[in-house]
């Protein structure tokens, strides 16, 4: 049961993120559902999967998996990637609010304003580059967080994951 204070806070967060402007909308394939989405290291050139673990899902989600990827190159970048396979587009977007509610930053910039055009809705991070990105595409919500401080953006990694989702979509449509 969610009390009034929690609902007030949730609504404040939705306002900050202009939820009503993007909730429930997709750029294409409004009825498409991604199922059994998994990230395989071989699909991500230059990245190695360090670990993956299924996490408890909430009622909005069918499955939540957290991955840790690292890049063997001198950058030594480590990324924590959480994939929320939601029940619907609406649930993916509500899940996005569930997640950003737990961020201490009062709001985040839209990815498009930082040169990153992915997902149906995407938010980046503050600072010179995106060290974190959260985006939803269809019923999939993906959160990418840098595990160590550093100047390397996560944009390319995020684009690769969005491409994996779109590949599944286009394959289903026979393209």
């Amino acid at each position: 049961m969610i009390d009034d204070n929690e609902e007030v806070f949730r609504n404040q967060v939705k306002t900050k993120y202009e939820f009503s402007a993007w909730a429930g909308r997709t750029k294409e394939g409004a009825d498409f559902q991604v199922t059994n989405f998994a990230i395989r290291a071989q699909d991500l050139q230059g990245w190695r999967e360090e670990q993956s673990e299924e996490l408890p899902a909430t009622k909005r989600q069918r499955r939540v998996v957290r991955y840790v990827f690292n890049s063997p190159d001198p950058r030594g970048q480590r990324l924590i990637v959480t994939v929320f396979e939601s029940n619907s587009v609406n649930d993916a977007h509500e899940s996005l609010i569930d997640v950003v509610m737990t961020y201490m930053a009062p709001s985040l910039p839209r990815c498009e304003t930082r040169g990153l055009e992915i997902g149906d809705i995407c938010f980046g991070s503050h600072g010179e580059v995106n060290l974190n990105v959260i985006f939803a595409r269809f019923n999939i919500l993906i959160e990418i967080k840098s595990a160590t401080p550093g100047p390397t953006p996560v944009d390319e990694f995020a684009r690769s994951l969005d491409s994996l989702i779109l590949t599944q979509y286009r394959r289903t449509r026979g393209e």
């Binding site: 806070f9 404040q12 737990t102 985040l108 991070s125 974190n132 967080k145």
Partner: protein, 371 residues
């Protein structure tokens, strides 16, 4: 106390068996409060090679905090002690005198029997002993048996060192808070302020991952937010007998510069001078008058917390607000040891917008189970 090694591994009883040579493989924990004034016994099973031996005298020297064991007659039948587990009273222990402690002890066991008068060496056993203030509080449990939330020896290895020597809960929680803030290489998530060590919608503490970070520097990395700091503080403090819970203040309030965990100096976070919420380890009912412990940041402790120069102060055992209804702005000099006034701007958008809002709904009342 009932112990386990970590989330997946139990501590088998008896804790020591033949072949174990490392103290860490034979852990045991005692709570000062619950043992005070009570006799404490260990149970020991002996075997003897000859069935003709019916009795022997046994003692153990050394024992560190548990003390030496006085000589005692042990009866045998068929080469096995009778009763099978013989109780030895810890008559010379010093549990409580040194506060919280982790100590590796050695007992040098000796025996004499069969008409001989000289003590002969029997065996040497090594044990890792944890001394905590009182029975650990939630999320840690003693019942049922077994349970993943029995105190973890792998976590006690840190908590008992961070709070070593502390004799009361406030001092222990303060020491643990300061260790988390200053000694673990953790840094604040300046980009978005996200939690890295909670999962399941904030329901669980990823303690196994955090211990991996502490042990080898990986886990889920060294970036944390306030929820992580509050959860780490609560979990490790409650392990040694404190009674804290992670609880929030909010919502959407403006900040005066602070020194974030891992930062070199006072500043606002990279995302700006505001928090959507903040979470700390809180005592009591997380009200205005309840003290809290914040490992995530240090506040300005001087008489003008809203301007430079900054005099850093660990917010440990500090009341949330000593005068929550005071008209704003507050006057300078400001002398109260009051947390939110030292965290927020001196106006309606800061101090006026920062109020206790309670634990996250999914957080088991701010005592997230350890996973």
């Amino acid at each position: 106390m009932n112990l386990r090694k970590n989330f997946t591994q139990t501590v088998t009883v008896p804790e020591w068996t033949v072949g174990e040579t490392s103290a860490a493989d034979s852990p045991a924990a005692y709570a000062i409060k619950e043992t005070q004034g009570n006799k404490i016994f260990i149970k020991v099973k002996f075997t003897v090679g000859s069935n003709s031996v019916t009795k022997a005298e046994v003692r153990a020297k050394g024992g560190g905090v548990l003390g030496s064991l006085d000589p005692q007659i042990v009866n045998f039948a068929g080469g096995v002690s009778v009763p099978a587990s013989v109780p030895f009273e810890l008559k010379h222990h010093s549990i409580g005198s040194g506060g919280i402690k982790r100590e590796d002890i050695t007992w040098n066991w000796e025996f004499r029997c069969c008409g001989g008068s000289a003590w002969e060496p029997l065996r040497t056993t090594k044990h890792r002993i944890y001394i905590v203030l009182e029975e650990p509080k939630l999320p840690w449990k003693q019942q049922p048996v077994p349970d993943t939330q029995h105190p973890w020896a792998d976590a006690l290895d840190y908590a008992c060192v961070w709070a070593a020597g502390k004799q009361n809960r406030d001092d222990a929680a303060a020491a643990i808070t300061q260790a988390i803030n200053a000694n673990l290489g953790l840094v604040y998530d300046n980009a978005i302020g996200a939690s890295h060590y909670t999962s399941g919608g904030g329901a669980l503490f990823e303690l196994t991952q955090f211990l991996t970070y502490l042990n080898i520097g990986t886990g889920l990395g060294n970036i944390v937010n306030c929820t992580d700091c509050a959860t780490i503080t609560t979990t490790f403090s409650n392990l040694v007998g404190c009674d804290l819970h992670a609880s929030r203040m909010g919502s959407f309030f403006d900040l005066t510069p602070f020194r974030g965990i891992g930062a070199a100096g006072f500043a606002c976070p990279g995302f700006g001078c505001g928090f959507s919420y903040h979470e700390v380890a809180w005592k009591g009912g997380h009200g205005n008058g309840d003290p809290l412990f914040d490992a995530c940041l240090r506040v300005d402790g001087d008489t003008n917390p809203w301007a430079a120069p900054y005099t850093e102060q660990f917010p440990v055992n500090i009341v949330f607000s000593t005068n929550p209804g005071a008209p704003l702005p507050l006057a300078v000099p400001f002398n109260a040891q009051s947390y939110k006034e030292r965290l927020c701007t001196n106006d309606a958008g800061g101090i006026g917008s920062c109020n206790p809002t309670g634990p996250w709904p999914a957080s088991s009342n701010g005592r997230r189970p350890a996973k």
